[in-house]
Symmetry: C2
Subunit: 174 residues, 2 copies
């Protein structure tokens, strides 16, 4: 699967849309997050969409859950547990009213993604390396920097209720 | 750019993850929508994410806006007007509470994507063909079938307030 990703990048580069389309997040050599040692996966902003969500309360965001090729394939095939190599990314943005849309509709109607918020989170499947946490490594990055150890201590326990779906809450949105 | 897309598909097929990963929506020979003659673009569910949104009122959905390669490149480079070949897709799902997440948090917390809702919409840029509507063709498909002509008569007028951004409301979510 890793070979596939490289092949795709190569084709894009040949067509002249490689370097200039790489988002700022596509850095392979960033700092590893504590406990699980996960680094920010390069190119995750280009991954395909799994689903979207809205969190209320203190989080107060709109979010998108993206998956690498292994993740998308597993989701579409209903494969459980997720195979090693699966990476799921959770992006989130401030939940802001669209004054522009509301004016068009003449009422409060639309909420859109504001600036990035609540960091970017990843779940990385490696059943050997992360055997004690259901086969998953967890990571959160705030402005590209790993969150602290206390944050990472909460990940697995929070995901345990989703054990029947291999600790993954998000369902695929067709 | 069309050549690039074909190249990517070819590489995926060679790696053996072509046919089985193609979503049901990837049909090139569907029925064309009225007025603009737009067909459902094959493989749009695999496109990259532009942003997410939440619509209240009768729409009551969570949505994702995806773009083909031309669209994503234009967004990231801030290119206006969008070049011919740009296609923007709007997917939407029912706005449903996540009972599962709410139980974990012990309060009303999470809203997730339910079943598909409000059809799938597309904006297709062809400055010659669609000169009278700002260079954009519009289409909505409900369960894979084009919506009627009355629906398509409302598209451009609703997008006119966003003329300064080439009639596109959605901003890129980094």
């Amino acid at each position: 699967m890793r070979r596939l990703v490289f092949a795709l990048v190569a084709v894009e580069a040949l067509a002249g849309v490689g370097a200039d389309m790489a988002p700022a997040s596509a850095q392979a050599d960033g700092e590893a997050a504590p406990i699980f040692g996960v680094k920010m996966p390069p190119g995750y902003r280009d991954w395909r969409l799994i689903s979207v969500a809205r969190e209320e309360g203190n989080l107060n965001d709109l979010r998108a859950i993206l998956g690498n090729d292994v993740a998308i394939r597993a989701y579409r095939e209903g494969q459980l547990p997720y195979p090693d190599g699966t990476i799921i990314a959770r992006l989130a943005w401030d939940y802001v009213p669209s004054e522009e849309n509301n004016k068009v509709f003449g009422r409060r109607q639309s909420w859109v993604a504001g600036p990035p918020k609540n960091g970017v989170q990843f779940m990385v499947k490696d059943s050997g390396k992360y055997a004690s946490t259901g086969g998953w490594g967890f990571a959160q990055f705030n402005d590209g920097k790993p969150a602290d150890e206390a944050v990472h201590n909460t990940c697995f326990s929070c995901h345990e209720p989703a054990k029947a779906r291999d600790f993954v809450f998000t369902r695929y949105a067709p």
